[in-house]
């Protein structure tokens, strides 16, 4: 039997729910050296800010059991260069609507970047990154209080026409309060989780491995945290949720959807296995058959 993998995010229909997460796939075109990326549901591109940023000093990465910590610090060429250089290259290799991940250090910056990216035809959804743990005075600092999330969402919604998804940080006491604040402020959807703040120490040198000392923890190890938060938020909100965090297999995608996700982002898994998303998409029909699932939309949030 043909298995229906289509899902719809705020009117945007994807062939399947699998989306490489921001920061783990660049602007997509580089990955087409591995496979035809048009099999993907969509792509969330690298977190983009108003100005070009070099990011944090090296080393930026440390390994953990079943995961990794990174402190890249939003390295990106800036919104104007992304629009003039990266998006055309992306369009050559990826012919579907994309998700634009936008970050910032002030409400003005978020507004300006979102307004600019909103006019790009290939952008279907704007993903507001208020959850990057690796920069000071921006990113996550907007995502840790309901008031500041609401403020940035309201400001951005005034200048855009496309659906706005807010990517939330798990580094908070009450994820539901933050998600509800975003929804009440007009967000069209929620994406979670971004990385968890973590740290590793080199016991020989007695210093942190990462130059920035701390970084965002991701990978298979965070999957249960992500499932839990997707479940809590999707039960409390009526807008769609994109689940993200530690997804490595088709079974993980289905579990995340049963928890309440309408689509699923795959992050760190791409870094070890560049074919991770391809393998998940190819394995999904068989996994659906095994679990007696005809349409993926039937299982979204099915867990009581």
């Amino acid at each position: 039997m043909e298995r229906d993998m289509k899902v719809t995010l705020s009117g945007v229909t994807l062939d399947n729910p699998v989306i490489p997460a921001s920061g783990c796939f660049g602007y997509g075109y580089g990955m087409s050296e591995f496979y035809d990326i048009n099999i993907l549901g969509s792509i969330s591109f690298k977190g983009t800010t108003r100005e070009a940023r070099y990011g944090n000093p090296l080393p930026r990465v440390a390994e953990c059991s079943a995961g990794m910590i990174n402190a890249v610090g939003l390295q990106n060429p800036g919104i104007d260069a992304v629009i003039s250089e990266e998006l055309p290259k992306m369009r050559e290799k990826f012919h579907k609507p994309i998700i634009a991940n936008i970050s910032g250090f002030s409400i003005d910056e978020y507004v300006e970047c979102c307004r600019k990216i909103d006019s790009q035809e290939q952008v279907a959804i704007i993903e507001l990154n208020v959850s990057c743990p690796n920069v000071h005075g921006g990113g996550m600092s907007f995502g840790t209080s309901p008031n500041s999330v609401a403020e940035v969402v309201r400001a951005v919604k005034k200048v855009i026409t496309k659906p706005l998804y807010v990517k939330l940080t798990p580094n908070v006491t009450d994820i539901v309060a933050i998600a509800k604040a975003a929804e009440e402020a007009g967000a069209d959807g929620i994406c979670l989780i971004n990385t968890m703040l973590g740290m590793r120490i080199d016991t020989r040198t007695r210093r942190p491995i990462i130059a920035n000392k701390m970084g965002g923890f991701s990978g298979a190890a965070v999957f249960p945290v992500a499932v839990r938060m997707v479940y809590q938020v999707s039960k409390a909100c009526s807008i769609p949720v994109i689940g993200c965090g530690g997804v490595e297999t088709a079974a993980d995608v289905i579990e995340m959807m049963m928890a309440g996700a309408t689509a699923v982002e795959v992050g760190a898994a791409n870094l070890r296995n560049p074919y991770a998303c391809k393998e998940i998409i190819e394995a999904l029909p068989k996994e659906m058959e095994r679990l007696g699932i005809e349409r993926l939309t039937d299982i979204i949030g099915i867990v009581e």
Partner: protein, 247 residues
């Protein structure tokens, strides 16, 4: 193009207390030049291990690697017949066709590895490289005979003076009054800084950094250069001396 494939270990033996030589059999068609690297998936470890290609031909890849942590320790325990998942076609290597008559090949510790295939290719086209290998102490010295067997002129420096010139690779250049017209270098950052600062010749260096992906998407290994931020795994690992910024 990049390629992921499964390779078979045909040889994996110690060259010193910390350095291993591994030979793998499999598809090598995506390796384009000396100085590229492979990214090795190690069982039970989340990230791959980026390791310079020491040598390659139509069906084999030779790696020299130091046992520095848990991942390389696991690699060192593999026996012939073991299978390894590798990404190949990674990075931009040395300019093998650079017009020069007598380049210096400067290797610090395990940094000697990517210079081997380069030396082979330079010699094959009639260039006479001077190979200078630096180590901490005599018992760490590896690959000297490998380079000598190629027919290269080889010098060794050790920090404690237990073999060859006492000091660093740059001390060999001074002591032997070596006259070269270009250099290729790979080794620890302090060595590369000294090489770029002390030698008046133009040249290129291969950088090493902690990486996550190895194929240019995670931005974990970006360095600031005179022509902007560059990914060691993608635009590098080899950079022109003139392009690097030493802070």
């Amino acid at each position: 193009m990049y390629k992921r494939d499964i390779y078979t270990v045909t040889e994996n033996r110690p060259l010193s207390a910390k350095t291993m030589l591994m030979v793998l059999e499999g598809d090598t068609q995506y390796i384009g030049s000396a100085g590229e690297f492979v990214n090795v998936a190690v069982e039970g470890k989340f990230l791959r291990r980026p390791i310079s290609i020491c040598d390659y031909d139509g069906q084999t890849i030779t790696l020299l690697y130091d046992i520095v942590g848990e991942g390389t320790k696991i690699m060192s325990q593999l026996t012939p017949g073991a299978k390894l998942d590798l990404l190949t076609g990674l990075g931009r290597g040395f300019s093998e066709d650079k017009e020069c008559l007598r380049p210096a090949l400067l290797g610090g510790g395990i940094g000697c590895a990517p210079l081997y295939n380069l030396a082979k290719k330079l010699l094959a086209r009639g260039v006479r490289p001077v190979v200078i290998l630096g180590f901490n102490t005599a018992k760490d010295v590896v690959a000297k005979e490998m380079f000598e067997r190629l027919g290269a002129e080889v010098y060794v420096a050790t920090v404690d003076g237990s073999m060859g010139t006492k000091g660093f690779v740059t001390d060999v250049v001074r002591e032997k009054s070596l006259e070269c017209d270009y250099f290729y270098a790979c080794g620890p950052m302090p060595m590369l800084r000294a090489v770029c600062g002390d030698l008046e010749w133009s040249g290129e260096v291969s950088l090493d950094e902690r990486m996550a992906c190895g194929f240019g998407v995670c931005m974990c290994c970006s360095v600031e250069t005179r022509s902007g931020a560059k990914r060691i795994c993608k635009e590098g690992p080899v950079f022109m001396k003139e392009d690097l910024i030493w802070k």
